[in-house]
Symmetry: C2
Subunit: 233 residues, 2 copies
């Protein structure tokens, strides 16, 4: 299968990259710089695709940033909320229509390359606060993508039934270098350990029973206690 992967350099899409690559797919990967604070994920994407020898491209969409006002992921005047995804404050991390933009660009490249599919790491743990993570959104967009060219291209979502812990387990089987992936929204030197995506990352390793090699900021030791207790609080 020839496919274009929407690739952030994060945990989920890195496991998907290894999953596809190991299965012998002809994978190309696309990262987008949309002015996210956690630009470290773009470095991670370059490092990992270098390791695998994958044709990787990064497009600069920073000029679109001014249209995306109000997201704490792109607006440095806003604070990244700490805590679990279920909390209301996490809504500030929504980037308007991000998935459609990323998938539209990947589809353009897939058409040029005559690929059969566009792959992305949607999974069962995607959060209800993101409207463009809904199954019905993905189904409608899949239909539009199939009609975007004369040659049908489909949306490939092999992890759609996986929890994030399942993704970690799959990554461990595939030998994914987890320490080279990036999740934290803060985008500092180390993972903060406190934002929604850090908490979720730690939780997924814990639930999967896989050792977490991530270097978290040691100023967040109170989280260690949470690992020992009930993550699902």
């Amino acid at each position: 299968m020839k496919t274009v992967l929407v690739y952030s350099g994060g945990l989920d899409s890195t496991v998907l990259l290894y999953h596809l690559h190991t299965a012998g797919a002809d994978v190309s990967s696309l990262s987008v710089n949309y002015g996210q604070r956690h630009m470290k994920e773009l470095e991670c994407a370059r490092t990992i695709t270098d390791i695998l020898g994958v044709d990787h491209r990064e497009v600069d969409l920073t000029s679109v940033n001014e249209l995306l006002g109000g997201s704490s992921l792109t607006d440095k005047n806003l604070k990244i909320p700490h805590g679990h995804y279920e909390e209301d404050a996490m809504k500030s991390t929504v980037v308007p229509n991000r998935n459609m933009i990323l998938l539209a660009l990947a589809t353009a490249w897939a058409i040029s390359k005559k690929a059969e599919s566009v792959s992305y790491a949607a999974h069962a743990g995607d959060h209800a606060i993101y409207p463009d993570c809904r199954e019905e959104f993905a189904a409608a967009l899949d239909k539009a993508i199939r009609l975007a060219d004369w040659q049908e291209i489909y949306l490939n979502r092999p992890f759609v039934e996986f929890t994030k812990a399942d993704i970690v387990k799959r990554g461990a089987e595939l030998g994914v270098p987890f320490e080279k992936t990036w999740s934290c929204y803060e985008g500092e030197e180390l993972h903060c350990g406190k934002c929604g995506t850090c908490i979720e990352r730690r939780e997924a390793f814990h639930l999967a029973g896989v050792e977490d090699p991530t270097l978290y900021d040691e100023k967040a030791p109170e989280l260690q206690a949470m690992i020992e207790n009930d993550w699902r609080l």
Copy 2:
């Protein structure tokens, strides 16, 4: 109605801008620099939105150009084909997935602005060579756009039943400064008069019975004869 218009600076979308603006809609407009040769259309968009006092943005997507290989609109090594759209050579003017990319960006801005719709100037004369001008593509994408946020946004296509001549007639009623719009794919100083979009532009004025104020390159006088004869040859 609050709407974000996908605005190229060409004839169709300029008439739609006037159509919406005159009807009292709160219109913002978005142009995209995707490395098109006919970048003059972007200047036209700026000029016209200045006249109307519309909130206009231009985003730079030139870094995406490398993903769109093979289109004569973006690859300066390829020649712009001359002749009618029905001709096979015109297929080189297809830009992969352009409509989905433009509409995805406009939708992002519409979500940020809390607009009710995204408008674009799809019309009945859109050509069969463009897969993303198909009605079923637009319908599928409309469905995805409606699901891209919690607040439903729809795809507004008031000209979907109009021919290009109907658009010229509507533009004449609205006092559109046609001479300030740009169509030609060549993107030289004057409209070439020979490429698909120039031929179609001249034809539309002729069929509408509206005087065409466009300055065509006078090296193309043979086209004058075509106007007098049967455009539909």
